[in-house]
Symmetry: C2
Subunit: 109 residues, 2 copies
């Protein structure tokens, strides 16, 4: 992946995953697959699993182990109230950045 994209994803990827989980619960493998569909072609699986563990430890998501017909049991993540709150903050932060960059891109300084 481009180095630029890699760096830019830091701090953003978490928001993307949380935003996805707001719409519906999902497990890691599923999230990875969805990201690939969205054009984030080569986000490593390991990255997503690590991220999910982080947001779980911060108490932003609830986890439920569900047996799978294929492979090991799935860990199904769903956004909880605290996660929702954090996500709102995320959109606020992002929209601030968005405005600054738009301004820079168009007008010049």
């Amino acid at each position: 992946m481009g180095k630029q994209m890699t760096e830019m994803l830091k701090g953003v990827l978490e928001g993307i995953v949380l935003a996805f989980l707001r719409n519906r619960s999902a497990y890691g493998y599923e999230i990875t697959a969805w990201l690939r569909e969205q054009g984030f072609a080569d986000i490593a699986e390991g990255t997503i699993y690590a991220l999910l563990i982080r947001i779980e430890q911060r108490g932003l998501v609830d986890v439920e182990k569900v047996a799978s017909e294929k492979g090991p049991p799935r860990k199904v993540y769903s956004l909880n109230a605290q996660g929702q709150e954090y996500l709102d903050e995320f959109w606020g932060t992002w929209s601030f950045l968005n405005q600054r960059l738009d301004q820079l891109h168009e007008g010049g300084n």
Copy 2:
């Protein structure tokens, strides 16, 4: 500063500075002051200087030492051709991210 902002700035701050330097040459202290005006209230000076050294070492900017009436000599940075190219890439990467996030924010899935 908010932790979210800190993480989100990774990879983005560099683009912001390069975009600023496209409009006009500047030295570190000046850039820091401008960022504060733009609402990036508490970006540490040390952060900017480190960033400037990085982009200098990557050959994205040209540097000229200019004596100052006040304090030590200024290192004036200006965007060169390679930097311009890199900046174009940056806008591309960012606009991709922007689209994905807009979509997520509005529509849902």
